[in-house]
Symmetry: T
Subunit: 69 residues, 12 copies
């Protein structure tokens, strides 16, 4: 593990369900093109309001993945 | 959208269920008097503990709403 | 309440379910040895990714408890 | 000046021109209902993009005003 | 306590005596119009200088109060 | 809007004119290769000085764009 | 001094008098069990409000003490 | 460039025009006594309000200059 | 006021009495050589502990003063 | 230099030797695919521990490089 | 790994050699009483100066270790 | 020690060797004109890159020194 180099990208996912769903949706779309994702960190949690209720959650994460040799 | 002016207020809601519930409870009470709420951002997530378990979650949000003409 | 002194410790709990579960797991293990826990604050929310999905959530909290006389 | 009490509110104004215009627009609308505004601090500078260009700037300020006796 | 919703406002009070006096002055004036204030947090401590001495202290606090039903 | 996933990149643009120009220059160059840019946030404002005057402004922004399906 | 190792703990003390009293109360109780305390840093200043006045101050400090050989 | 040592000072300039003007005014006055200024970073943007409009902008910058041999 | 340029310096004062005394001591010594000091902001509050009690407070402030013409 | 646009990426490198080695390892791998890297900033310094000793250092940097015409 | 609970403690180590040495010295002393240390994060890097040179480095780290069952 | 007043200045030193060297170079040059330097804190660690390698490190420190009577 000590000789890996990681790159981190910043993604924002959305969900009508909650924070966990928004993170999962971001990862699901990113995993189509980014391989070897290892960890994430939540850096912002927001949401849109309609009619006085949460319409959807928007969660921004940083995702670390291994740079392949 | 470019000619709107928004005001942001800071609210703390509680829930025995979790973060999403605490945000919803804060919005439900605020919506009685604040109209045109558009978005929120979570700025603090805390909770009270009783008998070694989470008794309730307390989530502080900033809520943006349109200043009406 | 005004004459209590509190100590805060920093814990990281994990869960495959989500943020609330990770906090509950941290408190459950800490409560075996720490008495009089009163509140917590979430200070970091991370997670591990396997096969493009969240494998488990890791939530770091600060927990305040009363120093007994 | 030493015996005044100030309240601060948080506003977001928009402008197609730039940062200064967005602040002025926020103050212009707020001044209809808030008297005795004394100072502001810029706390966030954002904007929306259309066709690869800035469509409008969105600047969030905290505004301090004197609480009247 | 778990079903309350709190609103937080930001106030700046002044005093020639010190930090505690500035907070008390801010609360004294706010209490004329805001009911059910529960807690505060100091977020900025400043002051004005005249003739090389502190002329008055200016302390900014966030004050949480219960939104009534 | 709730089912989009956004990626954010960090860019620094320069201008002899000012902050707005530096942001526009960054977006103009990025728009050649990045499609669907939606918003930006200013995260750093700097500049170089020559002969006691601002020689050029350097503004760093985070730019969010939609990940296409 | 260069070969010492210090540990830091986080404490919250309370006082009806003010910030200095809250710090002193925290140290007084901690000193019953923690030896060799060397310095502290104030990291949070809060308080509870009753009847529109400060009921007690709550000050959180980090305290550094020497790990004995 | 690798063997230079820089010192940074913190200045606040004012302008009725905007942010760029306030920075230029700060540099113009500082350049009378400080030589070899190389770069600046904006660390605070504030302003005074009169009659509901910006009376003047106040921008605080850190300025780096070369310590001469 | 709009055409002044201010410089800010960072000072740490000490006192066995408390925060206010430490700020006053810093200003008293600085005023021997620095003229036209206008305001200060507390940026760090620390202290030394001896025998389980506060031996002296150390408060760090930023002080703004007018650059003379 | 005033007409360049830079992009910043975030990398984490590892080394058993120390901070400098971890940065060098991150740059060495990135330089295979990223051209025109100009500067970096250290944003996080961590490490893994085995048997009570540092097993390897993990340093996260932001790297700025010129967007080519 | 997903069912572990970690506790974090904050330590400051010193060294005349540099940052890496200060971290190692902190870990060496802590490892006498703390088992299962897994990772650290550098949170502050300071030092003492004598005769215009670094006399020793002081590095503060947070150390995470597994709470045993 | 309790009656000293300290002033802090901000310096950036460079070195091709690493962080420790950059701090030493900053102190060496500053010590020609600043007496009684007591401590420093690292506040920024950056560097320039040439040919995909670190060309030199740039470390910014705050240095505290005693104001003489």
């Amino acid at each position: 593990m000590s000789d890996h180099v990681y790159k981190q990208i910043k993604l924002t996912g959305s969900s009508t369900e909650g924070i966990e769903g928004a993170v999962n949706n971001a990862l699901a779309k990113a995993s189509r093109t980014v391989k070897n994702m290892r960890w994430f960190q939540v850096v912002d949690t927001r949401g849109h309001i309609e009619n006085g209720q949460v319409a959807h959650w928007q969660v921004t994460i940083e995702v670390g993945f291994t740079l392949e040799d």
